[in-house]
Symmetry: C2
Subunit: 360 residues, 2 copies
């Protein structure tokens, strides 16, 4: 199975993103990335140094700044954005210069937010170097940083002009990150693309062996699902909420573990397990479909077990942005490839579903 | 001359602003301001305490936070935005809550920027309490903060939903601020509304005596000019640049004085003087029209004299965002009520025009 470079267009007008997925894109960055002035501000982190080096060579002589930032979740702060702004303004950035973020979700969230507020907005490009960022984080225009009160509480909608997803950028990505990031990709298949979910089940061994064809097929399929949903709902009213499948309990698992115990994708995997369990009870999702989801998640794991006690989870669920007096909204599966938003699932049902999670 | 409350609509869709101008609006804030949840975050400063108190009473029982910030230009920083975000997030702000900024340009710039990035954007309302903010700062969607490298270098386009301009909010505004702010209002008349300019000349004594009718006529006229220009060009490509009349040298005068010697409006007044002088040489502006502009500015003053030495001004002009190899762009007057952008005026011509400024 070979993979031909694929282009996915997201959004329109000044908010349009061209997502390119395929091999060889890193070395072609010089011609693929967009900068009206031809000058770039490179923001990266220590992890994807090999990918960054290839981008650096592709943009030789055109870099206004070349900055490495810390890519741990703890560093995803307004201070990090301020650091990028200092470097960019100190170097004399102009409104027609463009930023390039080479890294995982933290780097693209922070650098994209810096691009959003520099001179009231300069163009930017994303070169994701994790499976999670390729399938999810770099697409859709959400940028931002955390706050002591919670994750992603400060930010802006500022889509990148171009996303380059090259499998070579995953080189050196630790196995745990690689697998956790794929959870967001299969999530996209489950909510909107049944054939993609089927292919992922069939080719998972090859995907996990990082074989280019099946891996890019999954990542491109997930990006296409996200692109289609975002196009219909750029600023998260309704359609976009489907992308939160697994995230109601996922966020609570993540927070209850102090963001150290579980990677985001791992927490979402457990959140999907519980949401599927709830779906069987509430939407009539077949036991066979639920079994297929659980099985694929097991094969993507094993993931560290989440905190499931009601006492620890309740506060995080109750302060969820989606909480109302009647319950907490969540996304349930009706069948593989089809999801719906359930507005008010009582807290107790979420807690029960969490408690029923057992190790795969 | 009595003034009936006037409504000016700026922009469209989710970026639409309703500007209301007239007496009695402060006390009607409870019904005029927009908040989807009905809850408000009040941001103000020490200066307009009487106006803030009236808004506070009008919104009694509906304030999530009530925060006073420092409104000096030195405090217009990312740190101030962060302080508002801390208070808002600590109080549990939701996406359907709205912010209200009661103050001058610094307060609306900082608070509007905080609204732009809180939860990736919450609605906001502006209640300007200076002539400059009523005529200019609160309209058009530009929000932001300064950076050690320069003014307004970090920010966002995030128009308020509602602007309430009530003359009662000017109570206690020092005479110097009152007059400096009017410069932006007559600027708007000169670039696009000749009858408004004529009325301002005729009624200036009453305007300076703060008589409601003529004062609101000028402020509403200026707001309407800005609204029309912004509607045609929300993100500053070309039409919007006309609003920069007087600002090429004005910014340089301001910066050369370390932002302490001159108020923004005062620097713009001198910048207009010089731009009119250049216009006579370059666009054929009549000496009579130039004289009318100079005369009205004299009557608005006297303003402190600007730094006019080429040595001090050159660096600030050369690093202007509008500078290219061929010269520095500026706005020139063709006749009263009609302006045009001149793309490349040589640095030396700007310096000569500055040098020709004499005290009025």
């Amino acid at each position: 199975m070979t993979f031909l470079t694929r282009r996915i267009s997201v959004g329109s007008g000044s908010a349009a993103t061209d997502v390119w997925i395929g091999p060889g894109l890193l070395d072609a960055a010089g011609s693929r990335l967009v900068s009206p002035s031809g000058r770039f501000l490179l923001i990266t982190s220590a992890g994807p140094r090999a990918a960054a080096e290839r981008v650096r060579r592709a943009l030789a002589g055109r870099l206004l700044i070349d900055l490495e930032i810390d890519d741990r979740e703890e560093s995803k702060s307004l201070g990090a954005v301020s650091g990028i702004a200092d470097a960019a303004l100190g170097a004399g950035v102009r409104r027609d210069d463009a930023l390039v973020a080479v890294g995982g979700g933290v780097v693209s969230d922070v650098a994209g937010f810096a691009a959003a507020i520099l001179l009231r907005g300069i163009p930017w490009n994303a070169i994701p170097t994790t499976t999670g960022a390729m399938a999810d984080a770099a697409i859709g225009g959400k940028t931002g940083v955390d706050h002591p009160e919670g994750k992603n509480l400060l930010g802006a909608f500022h889509p990148p002009r171009v996303v380059l997803a090259d499998p070579a950028a995953l080189e050196g990505l630790p196995e745990r990150e690689f697998r956790a990031g794929l959870v967001e990709a299969v999530k996209a298949a489950w909510i909107a693309d049944a054939p993609l979910a089927r292919r992922a089940e069939e080719t998972l061994p090859a995907i996990l062996a990082r074989e280019e064809g099946p891996l890019l097929d999954l990542l491109a399929g997930a990006a296409a699902v996200k692109a289609e949903i975002v196009a219909g709902d750029p600023k998260e009213s309704d359609g976009r909420r489907l992308l939160n499948f697994g995230h109601t309990l996922g966020h609570a698992f993540e927070a209850a573990g102090g963001y150290r115990r579980l990677r985001h994708g791992e927490a979402v995997a457990w959140g999907i397990r519980a949401a599927v369990d709830l779906s069987v009870r509430r939407t009539g999702l077949s036991a066979e479909a639920a079994g297929r989801v659980a099985d694929l998640l097991s094969r993507l794991g094993p993931f560290p077990a989440p905190e499931i006690s009601a006492e620890r989870l309740s506060p995080f669920l109750s302060r969820d942005k989606k909480a109302t007096a009647g319950g907490i909204a969540g996304v349930l599966l009706q069948e593989i490839g089809k999801a719906r938003v359930e507005e008010s699932v009582p807290l107790q049902e979420w807690l029960d579903a969490a408690a029923r999670i057992s190790l795969p």
